[in-house]
Symmetry: D3
Subunit: 132 residues, 6 copies
């Protein structure tokens, strides 16, 4: 449906191929999903976005699966169908079980509910939360 | 600022006190934060919300700290100041280090960015994501 | 905090005063709230917005109090502090009881929760909902 | 498209069937929509969500149709296609006329507009709204 | 999928046709897109919405293409598929190049990211921003 | 209120100072706003965010003022008070007149309204928008 066609590897410039190669090597996979292939219409954004994601999603103080589940939490809150589908798939590949997914959804749903109760009731922030 | 005053323990009905007691016992704390004290103006919602949260945030396939960070991810995406303050405080108490918080924020920020790139470029969902 | 100062009646142009007068007459009140006084910095938007609201919020197939509660539901979902404060106040003046407010909040909270469960679980729309 | 298949009554466990039976009895209908059938992959969330909705959407200070329209207002603001389709259908079954739907949409649209004017112009909350 | 069928010109009342004629004349086009044809089920909202959009999107202190790009920025942030498709198409017709679209997307993505960093880190507003 | 204190230049590490110096040189200013000073608690995110913003907000196919107004449009839609205050201030410094700001707000408000009308009425995307 999109107005920008995905850029296939065969037709990609060398600067785009370089990013594609790094994505596949980093993710240990042999294909590129549509997000990157459409973003490749703008090689500058393709590279910047990939470099940022590569840095942010790498193992660190949080493990990659936890980061993937946080990504799902944001995508579900924002109602982004593409992002929900792609990151749910990624999380399963990184070891998310069905039980983990169900709990993730329960927390995301509940947080969206209490966010509105807190704002709707105009609850003031407790002093205790301001200094810790 | 809110139009509903917090219900203090001293003035609470026995049905409200019962919930307050369970909150303090479950959380091993001796105070109740404003969210619950304002919600106590409606004892039915107070009880239902607490019972749901107690069930959802208990240890399970995901540990309590991971759940707390998911709560923060949603609250930050929704821009709920009260929720950000309270759950960031809770997460620190459950062991979230500064390094973990920084990575959490980085993932939340990036997810909010790529959610819009995916929708703005009208990226179609890959077949691979529909069956896994 | 805002960069645009409220335009007080005493200092307002005749075209702004005309709108202020209509707001006070329509609402049977003798003061103008900050929203309109700040919007008055742009008399064109002031008039268009007021004319639209006046038309939309008038009694019709839905009564004014129901409309006011729908306004609150949207404002709470969007986390707009000014709008929550002003429309909650208006709704109370139009007869919203505390019991009604509590139920309104419960529905708004629940809807925000199930909205995310529906999208997170990628639920397909039932055929029955497409034709009715 | 979803990765979780709907759980049909014929294949459901007794604990899931019990919830399905209650949904059909409460709603006086003989079918279950996809939302519940997908949620049934997690019987704990299925039950908790249904019990909460049953309690919240029951007649009270607000009538069921008003609650259904508030549900639509939230779902439209959040842009949740499934929720818009299902709750619009439910509201029509509960007696929402076309005229009521049109006014509902007008209020929801306007509230989303003025929410942004209030925040964009950084309007300060009036003292009058803080104490009532 | 929608429950309201588009109102075609051939079947439209004279009051709806009058709006359709003005849309086509103003936009120098010979067709009406679905948004207006569905809105025509409520002639009052059709007229009010068109009159507002006509006034707002006319050339002024901002040129029509800049306004169209701002419309895209909002629609992408809200994840509204119809609005993204229609306003991206309109913007291209008004002269938006691919390079402009790519930069627009980059800014929208980045703004959505830093909005969450600012709220997640609970950054206080600088004094300098309050007085200018 | 935030739990992370701003990092002042005097106390900053050399790697943070390097970013601060680049911000001040690029923006031709002699002070750093709180957003960057709080982000400096995580030098990695500070640098990545600044490098991305510097690249994205530079003059290109779109001029810096247009980019700043797009930033405001997103921030207002997301209801981020800090971002609205800081980018409105920046836009004024880059030449945004009051007349431009008023039109910007009018477009943002209207887009938020029609986004909901399009989704609430479940309008289908026109064929014409899919191929252009």
């Amino acid at each position: 449906m999109g107005t920008h066609q995905p850029v296939e590897y065969a037709n990609a410039s060398s600067e785009v191929r370089e990013v594609y190669d790094d994505i596949m090597a980093t993710r240990k996979t042999d294909w590129i999903n549509n997000f990157w292939k459409v973003l490749a219409n703008d090689p500058v954004t393709l590279r910047r976005t990939w470099e940022s994601i590569k840095q942010i999603m790498a193992p660190g103080a949080l493990d990659p699966l936890t980061k993937e589940m946080i990504y799902i939490a944001v995508s579900v809150t924002n109602q982004c169908p593409y992002c929900i589908a792609s990151h749910t798939s990624s999380a399963h590949k990184k070891g998310m079980t069905d039980a983990m997914f169900h709990e993730l959804m329960a927390v995301v749903g509940m947080a969206n509910e209490t966010n509105r109760l807190a704002s709707g009731y105009q609850v003031e922030i407790d002093e205790q939360f301001k200094t810790s």
